[in-house]
């Protein structure tokens, strides 16, 4: 497990800390912190029911996806008053991570939305519009998800194990008799019934599973659907599957802004590829190349030579200038890399397509290589508890500096000043008019009328829960990235991320697998062939894979979900007909990193505040001056809580100079106040 944070904000010190047994401890701390935010938000929105929000903000931001959250944090950090809204009851929009039960509710919500045509609540806000003002209505429906399909292969029988275990508590899933994709609506209740006492029970139950000392127990145990639901809280299922390049824009931003202190990370252990139906390791670092059993020594040399060249390819233009207009693949051929090596470089290291031009391919390879070794032998990090943590971390940062958060709270329409063609206010879903100088909005809130084109790219996604890793190795707690080259050169390459339970995204004994590719058909059409190639998918749902059969060499799929997500990343401001101070943030893109979203956030921020620094490091608590006015003006809770933070941090440093990770989350949160 890796933690990145700075000891002081002036001198960046990167601390890496290995913790082997600390998960449980953290989890508690962590949850309490998460609830901290969640709580204050709930408080906030309840309060809002009675009271109005302040009627004036510098920036109103709608949508809590990564880009919007970064903008919110950046604006709040430099003293702008920020109102951050989301129509959903959870953070991060399409970047969210759900517990299994939360995901089932999300699926249910999707299905309801498909059935019910929402009638626009008409014009209650008409009276709020003055002369010289125009109205731009926003969409109240999110149509970014489509083609959602769910299949369950886990046995639905009652659990028969527990022979010697303590008897189950009364929280046995209430919907045990009716579990199937149609009835998952019940799962919300199931989620609610999983209360604290059962949590501790689960803790005890699951110990034999996670303990490597007795694998036979693990083999014996069948994971039933009930089990998945019961342990649903152990899952954190991402809607988008991304990893963090350890020298990518996101990691740099997390470090620079000190936001990294709100999260924990684990590095990816394996970079794999699938060739001829076999999963094998991609030699990408020096140690991998050395240890590789598949490569001949000559191949090792050729590969190392090529990778070394890529590291500073700009210094040797003579090597590639004849190929700048030609595909990267041809360049690789010219470099005398064997077929084998060409595949590795193209699909798994550069992660580009057959058509990608040489220079872009070289850049991608270089980026990959530069990320190696910063936090281990692979170039990637993954945030524990899922990718949805990252937008939340930025929201938290925004809140610490006074931003106000309301979930289940949206904007109905924008009020545009006709003369200047600028948004001067928004009208929220409660009919309050809130004036602002800038409005930042996520793409899915924009109506088609404001678009120049409604043709979108799509991302195909599959989420699988499986019973074992695709690459059995000595340590089963590894996150793997698997690149699956396309079978025909026109088809898109599929990217697969397999998460282990120690990434805190799935229950012990299972693996959470994300598949992603750019769509050519529906997600199921695109991805089902890959799923059946790599996994054992039983023909009858609930059927146990037969022991000893050849199929058993593959991991079995317990549960799978397919869906398409709209990819708006190619759009820019010219794609919308909107006032100039409305900034649209596109949703997640299909690439592995998040650089695109971070760059967009930075450019929007510079549009809003051209002279301000983007996410400067948060000051050390002890360096903050408390002198009556100043920060207090933002909220009475502020200095008090920051003081706590200072004390706690100080205490932490005395106690143990070598980073006790648990302390990272003890940073007291600020309750943004709406009292004034």
């Amino acid at each position: 497990m890796f933690l990145l944070y700075f000891k002081t904000w002036r001198i960046p010190v990167l601390k890496i800390c290995c913790v082997h047994f600390g998960y449980c401890v953290f989890k508690c701390v962590y949850f309490s912190v998460r609830h901290d935010i969640a709580c204050h938000v709930t408080v906030c929105s309840f309060k809002m029911a009675a009271e109005d929000l302040p009627s004036q903000f510098d920036v109103v931001i709608l949508g809590t996806g990564l880009t919007e959250s970064v903008i919110a944090a950046a604006c709040s950090r430099v003293g702008q008053s920020v109102l951050h809204l989301d129509r959903r009851n959870y953070y991060a929009g399409n970047w969210a991570s759900f517990t299994f039960n939360g995901l089932l509710s999300w699926i249910e919500e999707y299905k309801n939305q498909q059935k019910v045509q929402i009638t626009e609540s008409e014009q209650v806000w008409r009276s709020l519009i003055d002369e010289g003002e125009d109205v731009v209505p926003l969409s109240s429906v999110d149509s970014s998800i489509s083609n959602l399909e769910v299949f369950c292969y886990a046995s639905e029988e009652e659990e028969k194990e527990e022979e010697t275990k303590a008897p189950l508590t009364s929280c046995q899933p209430v919907n045990a008799e009716t579990v199937s994709e149609e009835t998952t609506g019940d799962s919300t209740e199931a989620q609610d019934t999983v209360t604290e006492p059962s949590q501790s029970q689960e803790e005890k139950d699951s110990q034999p599973i996670s303990s490597p000392a007795d694998p036979p127990v693990e083999v014996e145990k069948k994971i039933t659907y009930q089990k998945l639901v019961k342990e649903g809280r152990r899952f954190n299922i991402d809607l988008v599957s991304k990893l963090m390049y350890s020298r990518g824009a996101l990691v740099d931003l997390l470090i620079k802004s000190n936001v990294s202190r709100y999260a924990e990370f684990k590095n990816i252990g394996h970079i794999l590829t699938c060739r001829n139906g076999k999963v094998e390791q991609v030699p990408c670092s020096r140690a991998d190349v050395f240890a590789s059993k598949q490569l001949t020594v000559v191949e090792k040399r050729m590969l190392m030579k090529f990778l070394t060249f890529c590291l500073d390819f700009e210094q040797h233009p003579e090597e590639y200038q004849d190929y700048t207009e030609k595909p990267f693949r041809e360049f690789l051929k010219n470099k005398k890399l064997t077929e084998n090596l060409q595949d590795f470089v193209l699909h798994s290291i550069a992660m580009v397509t057959q058509q990608t031009l040489t220079e872009e391919g070289l850049k991608a390879t270089q980026h990959f290589l530069r990320c190696l070794g910063r936090y281990g032998n692979t170039p990637f990090l993954f945030p524990l508890y899922g990718l949805g943590e990252i937008p939340q971390c930025f929201c938290r940062m925004c809140a610490v500096f006074g931003g106000i958060y309301c979930l289940r709270h949206s904007v109905q329409c924008l009020v545009v000043d006709k003369a200047s063609n600028k948004v001067k206010a928004v009208i929220d879903t409660r009919g309050q008019k809130i004036s602002c100088s800038h409005f930042v909005v996520e793409d899915s809130y924009i109506r088609d009328e404001q678009r120049q084109s409604t043709a979108y790219r799509q991302i195909s996604r599959a989420v699988l829960i499986t019973d074992r890793s695709v690459l059995p190795s000595e340590s089963d707690q590894q996150i793997s990235l698997v690149t699956i080259p396309p079978l025909e050169s026109s088809a898109p390459a599929v990217r697969m991320v397999e998460l282990c339970s120690s990434s805190m995204t799935c229950m012990p004994g299972t693996y959470l697998v994300h598949l992603t590719c750019s769509s050519s058909g529906t997600a199921q059409e695109d991805l089902a062939p890959v799923v059946s190639e790599l996994f054992h998918v039983s023909t009858i749902p609930g059927e146990e894979p037969s022991e000893g059969a050849e199929e058993r060499s593959k991991p079995a799929v317990l549960w799978v979900m397919y869906f398409n997500m709209r990819d708006t990343s190619a759009l820019d401001s010219s794609s919308y007909s909107l006032p100039s101070n409305v900034h649209v943030c596109t949703g997640p893109d299909g690439s592995l990193g998040s650089d695109c979203s971070i760059k967009l956030a930075e450019s929007v921020f510079h549009h809003i505040l051209p002279d301000e620094e983007f996410c400067p490091p948060a000051p050390n608590p002890e360096d903050i001056i408390y002198d009556g006015d100043g920060p207090q003006a933002e909220g009475p809770g502020f200095d008090e809580s920051v003081n706590t933070e200072a004390e706690e941090e100080g205490a932490a440093h005395e106690k143990n100079p070598s980073t006790e990770p648990a302390e990272m989350d003890s940073v007291a949160d600020t309750t943004p106040s709406s009292e004034e």
Binding site: V78, S81, A291, V297, K300, R301, M304, A633
Partner: protein
């Protein structure tokens, strides 16, 4: 601006930091003084432990404090029960661990830890091993930890297999790690020793010297695996030297056994010369000379006073003992310490006689590389050549190829070797003189081999770009040597081993030092044209060569010295033919 968090200016922060620092320093100094005072007062109590603890946890490199702590602990140990002692030292281990977090490379900490474990009634080696693993996973090159680990492994009796797997793991994660490779080289001979010697062909021809096979050898099956491992490493990164060094160790031949390689006796000076396989200090080695069954009291001396350890030693026999040409003598040199001896018979009518091993026989010069089977070497040479094709500029590869070629067939590969040396000097100019010296060594070896085949006593090394002279102990019988047209700078003390030398030609070099022309009893003629001899004093050693009559010094700066001729005739009165 409104709403902004106010933070302290840099100057304010600096000031606070400075004050903080001062406060800390003051506290440290006063605590230090208190401790030192307690120590000089001989107080060994808990308080002392407490105080040193505070100081060491902020500065674990304070050796005096560790010493004091040891004194206190030893004292407390005498006052306590056994299980209390265990607790005392266990808490000490915990304390050291905390100090190691402050500085994982602190000499004091690691030394103290070793000491504590010797005092601990029941040391927990598993825990110590775990600690080492943790430290090494954070920094695999922490040699303090490596050292400590060796102690722990020895004490805890970890199996060699496990240790080998441990090195596997470390090398796997980063093979640029000398410590791991070296550790491997000590483990492999224990785990996979070479089977008992069955090969006669390369053993000494002398039946009395039993071949002492070196124990640091590894069985062939394992060797092949290790070759593969090092191939993987140097094909992955040919510029990383650690694997190359390991590879050279793998290819390395057994060390030569110590023996008397040659005995030479001359009636004229009534002198015996003995050559050994490696430099020895004969005066302390228990060397005994038996002449015709009679042990002789002789004085051993090396060929040059500057050589305390020398492969060649001389002694004078009692006057008249062998001077009569009509007598036959039997001479035996006993090397009592090594239980070895060598005979030499001096027949009637012979002025001199010797007994020796042939250089060709002994494979003396197959460099340091050699494996029993040349097919293995041939395969290795192929791999290296393959790498050289990919990396024509790689010096490690070039050097290894040269060594392999020498091990396989030094004369057959001479041309290629020279070409590779040329490339080496170009790609690695920083070490070009090293390569020149190495090349000189190989050329001399080749010439000696050729001479052995021809069985002559005339030795020519002219025009070979030599920069250094070596293997001069092999030239014990040479009477004529030609070193002309090389780049020699000196005739080193070893040159005095050429006890039979009569004529020396060393024209067209850059020789400025003639130290080695020292007590060469038969030297008659020396030609040193076009060299760099500058001072008369450089020629002084020539005075010890009593038979020298012809000396050619043309083209040397020394001729500019005033009164050189008269000075020279004074220095070397026997020289009759002097050219200046």
């Amino acid at each position: 601006m409104h709403g902004r968090v106010k933070i302290k200016s840099t100057a304010q922060q600096e000031e606070e930091k400075r004050k903080e620092k001062e406060k800390k320093l003051k506290a440290f100094v006063s605590a230090r003084d208190a401790v030192l005072k307690k120590r000089s007062a001989g107080e060994h109590d808990e308080e002392a432990l407490q105080l040193t603890r505070q100081l060491l946890s902020s500065n674990p490199d304070f050796a005096t404090l560790w010493n004091y702590r040891r004194e206190v602990l030893l004292h407390l140990e005498t006052l306590r029960e056994k299980d209390e002692v265990q607790k005392l030292y266990e808490s000490e281990l915990h304390f050291i661990e905390a100090c190691l977090k402050v500085n994982p490379k602190s000499y004091g900490c690691w030394h103290h830890r070793t000491w504590v474990n010797t005092r601990l009634p029941q040391p927990d080696w598993t825990r110590e091993l775990g600690l080492c693993d943790r430290c090494l996973s954070l920094d695999e090159r922490n040699f303090h930890c490596w050292d400590y680990r060796r102690v722990v492994v020895k004490a805890s009796g970890v199996s060699v297999e496990q240790e080998l797997q441990f090195t596997d793991r470390l090398i796997g994660s980063n093979f640029s790690n000398y410590s791991s490779w070296h550790y491997r080289s000590t483990l492999l001979p224990q785990l996979h020793p070479q089977p008992a010697p069955d090969s006669a062909p390369i053993t000494s021809p002398s039946p009395t010297t039993s071949p002492q096979f070196h124990s640091h050898r590894v069985c062939e099956e394992q060797l092949l695996k290790e070759y593969e491992l090092s191939h993987n490493a140097f094909f992955t990164d040919p510029n990383d030297q650690s694997a190359w060094f390991y590879y050279r160790w793998l290819l390395g031949r057994a060390e030569r056994e110590e023996m008397i390689s040659c005995v030479y006796v001359s009636r004229e000076g009534e002198r015996v010369s003995v050559a050994f396989s490696k430099p020895v200090h004969a005066q302390s080695e228990g060397l005994m000379l038996v002449l015709d069954g009679q042990p002789q009291q002789v004085e051993w001396r090396s060929t040059h006073p500057r050589l305390r350890h020398s492969p060649v030693w001389l002694c004078d026999l009692p006057p008249g003992s062998i001077s009569d040409m009509s007598n036959e003598h039997n001479l035996t040199i006993h090397w009592t310490e090594k239980h070895t001896h060598r005979d030499c018979a001096l027949y009637t009518g012979c002025a001199e006689s010797w007994c020796r091993d042939s250089a060709t026989n002994l494979e003396l010069f197959r460099s340091e590389l050699s494996v029993e089977k040349s097919s293995v070497l041939q395969a290795e040479l192929q791999s290296c050549n393959q790498l050289l094709e990919l990396e024509p500029q790689n010096k490690w590869c070039l050097l290894t190829i040269i060594l392999l070629m020498r091990a396989l067939d030094p004369l057959g590969h001479e041309k290629e070797t020279l070409a590779h040396f040329q490339t080496l000097k170009e790609v690695d100019p920083m070490r070009s003189t090293y390569y020149s010296d190495l090349c000189s060594k190989f050329l001399i070896e080749n010439t000696i081999l050729k001479m052995e085949y021809a069985e002559v006593r005339v030795f020519s090394l002219s025009n070979k770009n030599l920069t250094t002279l070596c293997h001069l102990d092999q030239l014990l019988f040479v009477t004529h040597i030609n070193l002309s047209s090389n780049q020699l700078l000196r005739l080193p003390p070893h040159f005095a081993m050429l006890q039979c030398l009569e004529v020396l030609e060393a024209d067209d070099n850059a020789i400025e030092n003639l130290e080695g022309l020292y007590h060469l009893p038969k030297l008659e003629e020396v030609s040193l044209r076009n060299n760099q001899i500058c001072k008369l004093s450089d020629l002084e050693s020539l005075a010890s060569c009593t038979k020298l009559t012809r000396l050619d010094l043309r083209g040397n700066p020394v001729h500019r010295t005033a009164h050189i001729e008269s000075e020279l005739s004074q220095l070397l009165p026997r020289v009759t033919a002097l050219s200046l």
